[in-house]
């Protein structure tokens, strides 16, 4: 396959970036999108040019590191997959592919396609945990959780924190991410003790980071590599409103 690429190049967060054109020939349809970038970077290195910086780690679709905005969509045209699980067979010979970093005020570009997603970590640090002394593993079936509830929690817990929801949202809203992190604990008995505090603190942190509001366009859920449902955003709204109206927190 012959592929033309338009890639966002930016030296660092202080320097303005621009789109740069590259051409790649002999691209195998079986390559993953990131492997195609590896080939590009090897080419660039041989030519003495700076390789394109991009985030990647597991390349198995479970770590949430890769983060490219490909042809106008986060993680590219295939739904339910991360960039590393996207293969070149999803494109046609001769295609031009536009690759940009996530765009959000809360996700500043560090270099090329790499953005700083620490804002997500700070949101989780604000309340996305259960603060109990776990001690040794409890006996099985000590806490009874119906299968449906466990599945519901798992649907939310699948979130890998990649940020595609923010990248897809027209408001750069982090609602699906925060909803997933609030929801997977809120539906389980272990998360009940701190559920009000969790919703209040995590939403406050989300706002402080400069993410936008939810317009319920559903783009986040469609682009989420784990297809996390909008049901969780409704739960977050419920949790937050309930907490604000009834908790003892100021």
């Amino acid at each position: 396959m012959n592929i033309a690429l338009k890639v966002w190049r930016q030296k660092n967060s202080q320097t303005p970036g621009k789109m740069v054109d590259y051409k790649l020939s002999d691209v195998s349809p079986d390559m993953s999108f990131l492997e195609m970038f590896d080939v590009l970077n090897e080419d660039l290195s041989h030519k003495g040019e700076e390789p394109v910086a991009f985030d990647h780690d597991c390349r198995e679709g479970i770590c949430g590191s890769c983060s490219m905005y490909i042809n106008g969509r986060p993680h590219g045209p295939q739904t339910g997959t991360t960039t590393c699980q996207l293969h070149m067979r999803s494109f046609n010979d001769g295609d031009t592919i536009v690759v940009e970093p996530w765009r959000a005020r809360a996700f500043p570009v560090i270099k090329d396609l790499v953005v700083d997603r620490d804002a997500f970590d700070r949101i989780v640090q604000a309340g996305g945990y259960v603060s109990v002394n776990t001690g040794s593993a409890p006996d099985a079936n000590e806490i009874l959780i119906p299968r449906e509830t466990a599945d519901e929690a798992m649907d939310a817990a699948q979130c890998i924190g990649c940020g595609a929801c923010v990248a897809a949202c027209k408001n750069a809203s982090a609602m699906l991410f925060v909803a997933a992190k609030v929801s997977h604990l809120a539906v389980l008995p272990q998360g009940q003790a701190e559920h009000q505090m969790r919703a209040e603190r995590m939403v406050a942190q989300m706002d402080a980071e400069g993410f936008g509001a939810c317009s319920f366009t559903g783009a986040c859920s469609v682009e989420c590599p784990k297809s996390i449902s909008l049901d969780h955003i409704a739960r977050l709204n419920r949790e937050y409103l309930g907490a604000k109206l009834t908790s003892n927190n100021a």
């Binding site: 765009r103 897809a168 750069a172 319920f216 709204n237 937050y240």
Partner: protein, 244 residues
Amino acid sequence: MSWVTTTLSSTLGRKVVMSLTGLFLCTFLIVHLVGNLQLFKGDEGQSFNEYSYFMTHNPIIKTISYLLYTSIIVHALMALILTRQNQASRPIKYAYAKPEANSHWTSRNMGILGTVLLVFIIIHMRTFWYTMHFGPVVLNGETITAGAIPEVTYDGEPIKDLYAVTVFAFSYLWYVALYVLSMAALSFHLVHGFQSGFQTLGLRHKKYSPLIEFLGTYVFGIIIPALFAAMPVYIYLKAHHILF
């Protein structure tokens, strides 16, 4: 800050304000529609005029109407605040974005649709509400009544003839077209807005969400705007002796 101001200045709290005012405006639409359906009665406007008399004189209705005006203003102002906040959340836009691949046009353009509706409400209130309350009918640079709205007498009781004003306004094709287009905007606004209002309040459940979706799409998205749009069309056709 107190918990109230904290809540109302959060993105979620602001959306709750949008939701509550929006859903209140939806309930108003039902009342407004039911009343205005009197226009279709073939009684030369008697039921419609009696209905408008009731709406402008009943103390409860008058109180609710102030709540209504406030809701429109708060809904619009909060939308402006949220839009600015949302735009600030992405200072550098994508060079190439394909939003149509993951969301509907209406859900992404509620601000534009809402602005069309706000302009419509201003024009609509100038034509009918202002005339009913304050005075002479001037339309298209033409004054149809000298000092005040014409009156009509039923059972010896003179009341303002809003029906005559309505018939006059809708005898202009451009004015009818403006209403029909505005109702199209209302349709798109409500197809997304009604359901979205419930989502914001966290009211989403597999037992009830299909009903909310049905109401949002068919009742508020299609039936209500279509009936509203039918009024100017019907009066225009009747005034020009086409069909009716």
